[in-house]
């Protein structure tokens, strides 16, 4: 059964318990002490050693349903989206990146040879090559915990249930219910990002999707991500045309010298 996350950003309190739990469970190296100046966000981005990242936006815009004047907090725990059409997986030349029995996308560290193609192919900028280790790393959706019937470390640690884990169909149902509830309460900005193929055809939907209250770009999410393979046919066609041209030029050059 497909498993995934539904991250409801409206109940995220920015505690970063998910980031810490992820680091602990997956024994990820530290990223160093660094002051970014970007609100409370010092981990800055997802990367080879940061598989959950909490974004903080101090927004000079009011949010419906809140009584905060012309200010609102946006906090969002970002993660690998485990796309149904995954750019990283389709680009991987070694077969290191696989789709698991839980329908999640997993990089096998014993196979990855660090070619870096997945890094450029991910439309979300998630997967990265660890410079010291040489291999590509990203969220495994706690493949090991799932094998043991445990929920992923981040979802387990989340104190407000902003991160929900379960079967994708259940998550979708929960998300729709939550969206309806928020709309009823007047939070008209709320919408679901990447929940299904209909709302995000480029990826055919995400197994880790989000409830957001501002445009995707505000959270550093792409507005219309597309797995590169969907567009590459035209490129192959051009390569075939270029090949014919090259062959004609080669034969023509030889012929004309007779």
């Amino acid at each position: 059964m497909p498993k995934g996350f539904f991250t409801d950003t409206t109940v995220c309190i920015g505690c970063k318990a998910c980031e810490v739990a992820c680091k602990q469970w997956n024994q990820l190296p530290e990223d160093g002490l660094f002051f970014s100046g970007m609100s409370y966000d010092n981990s800055v981005q997802l990367g080879a050693s940061t598989w959950r990242h909490v974004a903080f936006i101090e927004r000079p815009v009011p949010l419906s349903g809140q009584d905060n004047g012309s200010f609102s907090w946006l906090m969002m725990s970002d993660v690998c989206k485990h796309c149904r059409r995954a750019g990283c997986l389709e680009a991987c030349p070694t077969g290191a990146i696989i789709r698991t029995e839980f329908d999640t996308v997993y990089v096998q560290p014993d196979i990855c040879n660090g070619c870096g193609y997945c890094v450029a192919a991910c439309p979300f900028g998630v997967v990265d090559r660890e410079p010291k280790d040489g291999r590509a790393w990203k969220c495994t959706l706690c493949y090991d915990r799932l094998k043991g019937d445990l929920e992923p470390a981040c979802a387990k640690a989340c104190p407000t249930d902003s991160i929900l884990f379960g079967e994708v169909a259940d998550m979708q149902q929960k998300a729709r219910r939550r969206l309806h509830e928020l709309h009823e309460r007047g939070v008209v900005e709320a919408y679901l990002y990447g929940m299904d193929a209909e709302s995000q055809p480029g990826t055919e939907g995400l197994n880790a999707f989000f409830l957001l209250v501002d445009r995707p770009e505000v959270y550093n999410l792409p507005p219309n991500p597309t797995v590169p393979t969907k567009k590459v046919r035209e490129s192959w066609r051009s390569a075939a045309l270029a090949s014919l041209g090259l062959l004609a030029a080669a034969i023509g050059a030889v012929w004309s010298s007779r």
């Binding site: 815009v61 070619c115 192919a121 567009k231 270029a242 004309s256």
Partner: protein, 300 residues
């Protein structure tokens, strides 16, 4: 910093990861493209050149083999785990241009080497050599052009937006790089003639394809900057000027000692500059979140 209401970004942070490839990848684009074109020209000389161009066919086959070998080394040097380079041939994945390219490179290179070694043989060994030459010559075509597809098959806006044009550019540039290398080598009259004709067609095509790439990446405001400005822009312009100069010089009705070498040297530098320009443009493009968002909003 407050997010701009019109065109928000997350503190101007990149939305994508910058490609992690090092200099050896664009260097491979040059070497591998040149090798592919050489294998194909070797095949053309084999089937249409007769005995007069047999030595030339052998030279092309060697360029193909050495270019493919050097290209393989350059690619392995870029791997995060170079000792696992053979894992490239662990599976065949048609959705991955890198997988297809690895298989093409790994088959075409030894075939080209085999055909080169057997060029001067006779009897069955010669037939075998020609058979290798045919296969290498056919595989040379995807080898010279797939790198354009490889770059297009990424999330990088400037590469993705030029997905129809990049294979044309890389194919033309592969032939131009080969013609330039041949011009740098001592040759007889008919060999010189072949190189000159190939140079003429390929340099012209390269200049046209480069304009097409420029048009494709500037369709969305702000995306094309990555190719036209900065280090990439300088390399891109240098490449165009050198290609045009080599084309004009090869056509100029003047003759002086070293004219051929000068043409070849300019063409070679142009080919290298072109690959590094496209590569640098991709890195700059991935760093620019607005380019990513605009390109997607435009549906390209």
């Amino acid at each position: 910093m407050t997010p701009s209401v019109d065109e928000p970004t997350y503190y101007d942070r990149p939305a994508l990861k910058e490609p992690v490839w090092i200099w050896s990848v664009p260097a491979y684009f040059y070497a591998g493209g040149l090798a592919g074109a050489a294998m194909t020209l070797g095949l053309a000389a084999q089937i249409a050149g007769g005995s007069r161009l047999r030595r030339f066919a052998e030279r092309c086959r060697w360029i193909g083999a050495l270019g493919g070998g050097l290209g393989s080394i350059l690619l392995i040097a870029d791997l995060g785990r170079p000792e696992r380079f053979l894992y490239m041939l662990r599976v065949f994945r048609p959705t991955s241009p890198m997988s297809i390219g690895s298989w093409v490179l790994a088959t075409a290179t030894p075939l080209s080497a085999g055909s080169a070694l057997l060029t001067r043989a006779s009897g069955f060994r010669r037939i075998l050599g020609n058979w290798f030459g045919i296969q290498a010559g056919i595989l040379g075509l995807p080898l010279a052009t797939y790198t354009g597809v490889l770059l297009s098959n990424t999330a990088v806006p400037v590469w993705q937006q030029a997905r129809r044009e990049l294979p044309l550019l890389f194919g033309a540039s592969a032939a131009a790089s080969l013609a330039s290398l041949l011009e740098l080598l001592p040759s007889n009259a008919s060999e010189r003639h072949v190189a000159a004709r190939l140079g003429l067609v390929s340099r012209g095509s390269e200049l046209v394809a480069a304009r097409l790439v420029e048009r494709a990446v500037t369709r969305v405001p702000g995306v094309g900057q990555a190719l036209i400005t900065g280090a990439a822009g300088a390399l891109w312009t240098t490449s165009a000027i050198l290609t045009a100069a080599s084309l004009v010089l090869s056509l100029a009705p003047v003759s002086f000692r070293g004219k051929r070498s000068l043409t070849g040297a300019m063409g070679t530098l142009a080919g290298l500059a072109l690959r590094f320009a496209v590569f640098q443009a991709g890195r700059a493009s991935a760093r620019d979140p607005r380019a990513t968002f605009r390109s997607q909003r435009a549906g390209l």
